[in-house]
Every structure is written in structure tokens, then in C-alpha cells.
Symmetry: C2
Subunit: 393 residues, 2 copies
Amino acid sequence: MNTPGFSFTQGATDGYARTGTLVTPHATVETPTFMPVGTQGSVKGITAEEVLSTDAGIVLGNTYHLWLRPGAEVVRALGGLHTFSRWPRAMLTDSGGFQVFSLSKLRTIDDDGVTFRSHLDGSLKRLTPEESIRVQAQLGADIAMAFDECPPGKADRDTIRKAMNRTTAWAKRCLAAPRGERQALFGIVQGGIHEDLRHEHLAAIAEMPFDGVALGGLSVGESVEDMHRTFDAIGHTMPAERPRYLMGVGTPRDLLVGSLAGIDMFDCVLPTRNGRNGQALTWNGRVNIKQMRNKFDTGPIDPKCTGLCCNGGGGVYSRGYLRHLYVSGEIVALRVLSLHNLHFLAELMRAMRAAIREGRAQAFVKDTLEQMRLGDQVGPVDEKGAKGDPRRK
Amino acid sequence: MNTPGFSFTQGATDGYARTGTLVTPHATVETPTFMPVGTQGSVKGITAEEVLSTDAGIVLGNTYHLWLRPGAEVVRALGGLHTFSRWPRAMLTDSGGFQVFSLSKLRTIDDDGVTFRSHLDGSLKRLTPEESIRVQAQLGADIAMAFDECPPGKADRDTIRKAMNRTTAWAKRCLAAPRGERQALFGIVQGGIHEDLRHEHLAAIAEMPFDGVALGGLSVGESVEDMHRTFDAIGHTMPAERPRYLMGVGTPRDLLVGSLAGIDMFDCVLPTRNGRNGQALTWNGRVNIKQMRNKFDTGPIDPKCTGLCCNGGGGVYSRGYLRHLYVSGEIVALRVLSLHNLHFLAELMRAMRAAIREGRAQAFVKDTLEQMRLGDQVGPVDEKGAKGDPRRK
């Protein structure tokens, strides 16, 4: 990593999987790691202190949302994204491009940038590589992302190739634009589910002096199998001396098999979105809290969980109590389930890092996935999460 | 107080105002005190640990809501209301009557009880004094309330007198019904805003062996002036050796002038409801967080507040940040504002107790109300809260 204040050191390896240590001006983060998403300046439903309690080292903020509301100049006037959102550890902001492509209406892409209408008030806006970097500098996260074009998962090769070329041209402009002080910049690789295009675009992005390299354009409508095949093929070929980031992907299975493919960083709204929908992630698969079987259950969501949501603090949140609160529309249910899911993914990644260090990563992933599928309240743990577009909200 | 495990000791007096110590099996509570309302088994938006952080000693639970959902037998099977809702200190449950009269449809009152349709599923239900006490025994709060008839604030004298007579007859039946072990029972005085009726009914209720005496039927649609005049006239004439409870009343002004009238206990959903509506209570009056003037404000809700919402913890929640979260519909805004309001009312009552002990209760109330009205973002601090029916949800 070229930017002062940053470093990435590879630790243990086990097959393609690896541990690492990412140092930023605000935190030292053990990888592979999952980054909770603070969409509009807060991880939905959860305070910064609670996110800290899950031991998260880095949180993602959405440039698009914060740019439109309250405005990057407001965030800056209120001390920048760290002070604004009271988050003391590392932050990463995306470029805003993904939300422009997925949320806004009437967007027109040209080689210079994207013109679109705000999903909030319909006003006309324009985002370019330079504007994205300028806005991200105002937000002031540790890590900024290059502005890319992200085509839908089922786009044809021509559309994808065009997006790759534009993303390459924009990547150069992002690198040339003035950044925030002590702010790293990651490049983004497109290429859809086509391995040859991915390798071609990776070569183009990897030769630029980005501090890290990300895979974009996955979990955008393609099948889970195609997504996994793609990052399996490309993950371990990404530059080893820089952090590798798989964007917008975060079911338990995605995190485990992504780590096996050599990925270091992940983000997804799934833990908090699932929590708000009454779903809890556990070592025995998903729990749908509103099921009748939980009505008289005095036990916690997951007896293996060490979080305040399940053990310790002021006594157990029983499944029966959480079911009642969820069915009654009480906010505390959403809070506890969201916090539990964040805590669970942090524990999952901790366990994955330990397995890599001990040379049993493959076995750990196989056993964990089997156990999750054996859970009595589980369908496949991953498919729901990968469907649709989990970064959208 | 007759029930084993309970005692009430009057402390300092200052005019009609007094401090006291209420001992229950789960807590020792300094009075005058404000009780947060845990409507459906949680104080809306707030965990038990957070309620504890405001130093609340006693929380109210709504029998009607818990009886209909999840059902008192479910709460009992999950360990009773304390274990169910993870609340370690004192609890009080209302009788369910108030919600039957305000929430349910097609209710028919007879001398034996009330038949009504559930507001949840339209099913036919019947509540009698015996059934209310039986349900409250299953819930297992420290303090149960007698089942009363609560007429609307603008009912005529005849209607009110009929409700008084019924409430008296039901009070006897409540006292005769089998209660939970170590569960106190408070009686309720009706009489609308008619001082003569209030005194008449107080005499009837006070001569029964209730552990405490409550004023019901206030803040149910009458004017604030009528309400204050009524409890000013009656509060200090309630039995001095037992706790005096003013039901469903809880704006800052209500709490202060109620304390001056000799009241010991209050409850209201106002702090959490206001929080969800973007309103913060402060020593300088109400703050409407969504006002534009807060957009660039780096300061806390109330610089005098000592809660984690305003000072300490992981850095200040700036007004600008809270405004952004509130305007964006983020749950964290509702949480912080609700917690702040609970904390503020706890601080207000602590300050009131100190003022009573130091013989400056009148001056404290006068100065505090003036300061609240002087606040630059304030209308009258009390009128909004007393309008309508703050216990309804």
C-alpha cells in the first residue's frame, strides 16, 4: 500500500486462504474481515458502541446516500464521517456508483460520468470520477473506492466489456484526482461472471498504484454458483501484497468460501437487514424468530454466541421474548437480532482466521456449512441472501 | 403497606411535596419518581440495560397488551414479566381496564365486568376484576392495580358517578381475589375533574386496605388546567402513609406540579413517544430535532444532560447527526432521543427530590418551568403532552 499510514501484511496461508493485518490511520484490522454497512451514517438500528462490542474493525459508509443527504459538506462541517457517526476505528466509503446504477432513475452514462435523478427528490445530479473522489475526501474515510461502472449480473459480454473499459479509464482519473490526506484508494475489477474478462480487467487494474483491489459487479443478480465460480477463479490471482476486497457479498457461505478463495475483506447489509426481517444467523443455520416453535422457548438465539444478545449482560433474551417483541413490531427485537447477526459474522470470521492459522481452513468451512444446513430451521443458508441486491438498502 | 416485602416511608416534606422511599421485593425506589412504560414487554426502542442506565427504579407493564399477546400464560411460562423482559428492578402492571376503554371496540360494560373485542384480531374477550387480578398474578409484577372504570375526561357527572360506584364495587372484589405472592395492590380513585366527587371517591377507596392509592381518569381529554386543578386539590389529601400514584401523566410540568401536590409516582409514554417523533426534552424546553437550525449543530441535545446520549461514551451525538438520522428514518435517532428523554425525566425527578429535601421545591419548580419556556425552540412544554391520550399506545 502506497499511501502513508497504511500497510497490509500477509500472515498465515492455507491453500489460497490467508490471514493478514491491515493497518489504517484509525485501526489495525485482522483479515479476512467482514465490514458492517453504515448506509446513511449509522449501521441500521445499531449504535457505534454496539458495533464496537462485536469487535468490528472497519465499517463501510455509502457515499451516494451521504452525498444526497445530509450532503458531504454537512458531514465535513460536523467533523467528517468518523466524528459525525462516532465511529473510532477504520472506515471505507464506496464510490457512490453502485447506488447510482441501482437506486436512481433516468440515469445517462457517458464517458465522462453519470447524470441521474436523486431517488429522494428527483433533482438532477452528476457523478464523475473526480466528483466521487472529491466527495469521499470530504467524508474522510480511511479508504476511498474508485468510481466504476457496475453492469447488471445478466448483462451481455459487450455491455460488460464496455463497462470494463470505462472503469479502467475512470480508475486513472480517480488516481489523478486530489484525495483526502491519509486516505487510501482501492481500484475495482469488473468483468461479470466471465473468467477471461475478469482476468483481463484485473491485469489492467492491478498495474495501477491502487492501495487495494476489489471485485465489483458480483451479487448483482447472477446465480450464487456463478458468483462463487467467478471469485474462486479470480480471488487468489489478485495481487498478494495488497488487500483483496469482495464488494457487497456477505452470507455466511459467501464469507467462508470467499476466504478460501483468498479474499480479505467483505461487506454486506445482510446481517442488519435479516435482523429487521426477524432472521437470526446461527451456527445451526438461520432462525426465523417469528415461528411458533419459539413461542415458549426460554433459550437464547444461539447458545454458542458469546454476544450480549445471547449470553451475559442483563440476562438472556429468550427466543420466546424476542418472538413476542418481533410479532408485536417492537424495535428492541430488530435491535437484538441485528446486533446478534453482526456479532455472529464477526465470530465466524474470527473462527475462519483461526482455522487458516491452524491449517484446517477447508475442513472448517466444510463442517460449518454442513452444520448450518443441518439446522432444523434452515433452508440453504446462502441463497436468499445472494438473491436480489443486498447492498441496495 | 400491608403486603409483606413492601414498605413506604415518608422522608422530607416541603409544603405538600414530599420525598419517600418505596421498598418492593425487587427494588428500593426514591420518590417522587417517574416510571417508564414497557407497553408490550419493552420500553419502546430501549433495552432493559439502557433503562437501568437512566437509574429508573420501577417500570410499568400493560396488562391488556400482554394478556392479548403473547398471553399471560406465555409470560408466566417464560419466567414471569421480570425474567421475560429482563428487568431486575420493580415493576407495576395496570389493570388492563384503561386500554379496554380506549383501544377496544364494541365494549359493553355491566356491573360484573367488560366484554369487548380485541383490537388485534377482533376476538371476543371479557375482563372482570377477578380476571384482571388473575392475569396480573400470572405476570407477577411487584405491584398490581385494581380494575376500575375510567370514563372519558368530558363525561357528565352522572356517568362519572356511575363509574365511581362501579370502581368501588370492583375494588372490593379485587381485594378479595387471590393475588400473586408478594404482590401489592393499589386502589384507584375516579371522579373526573369534579373536586367533590374526587374527595368522595377517595374516602371510599382510602378506607380499603390497598397498599397504595392512585388517581385514575386524568389526562383523558380534559384541559391541562382542569387536570392540574384536580390533582392540586386532591393530591395532598390522599393517605400520607401510603404511596400516591398519578396515572398516565408525565410531561415535565405535570411531574413538577404533581410533586408539589404531594404525588409520589407517575407514568407516561411521553418520553419514548416524543423520542420517536423527533422531540427531545431539555432544561431549556423541547427541541424538535428535525428543525433546519440543527443541521450544522455540533453540540449535544442538552449540554446539561449527563446521559450517554449527550455526554460521555463514544463521543457526543451531535444535533446535526441526530437530525440527519431522524430525517433519514434511521432507528438510531429514535433510540437516542427516547433514551435521552427517559434520562431527562429521571434527572428532573432527582433534582425535584433534592429541592424538596432542601426546602426550595416551589422555587425550583418556578425557575425550571420558566427556563423551559424561555428555550428558543419551545412552545409551552406541557400542553402537547397532555392533549389526547398519552397512554393509548
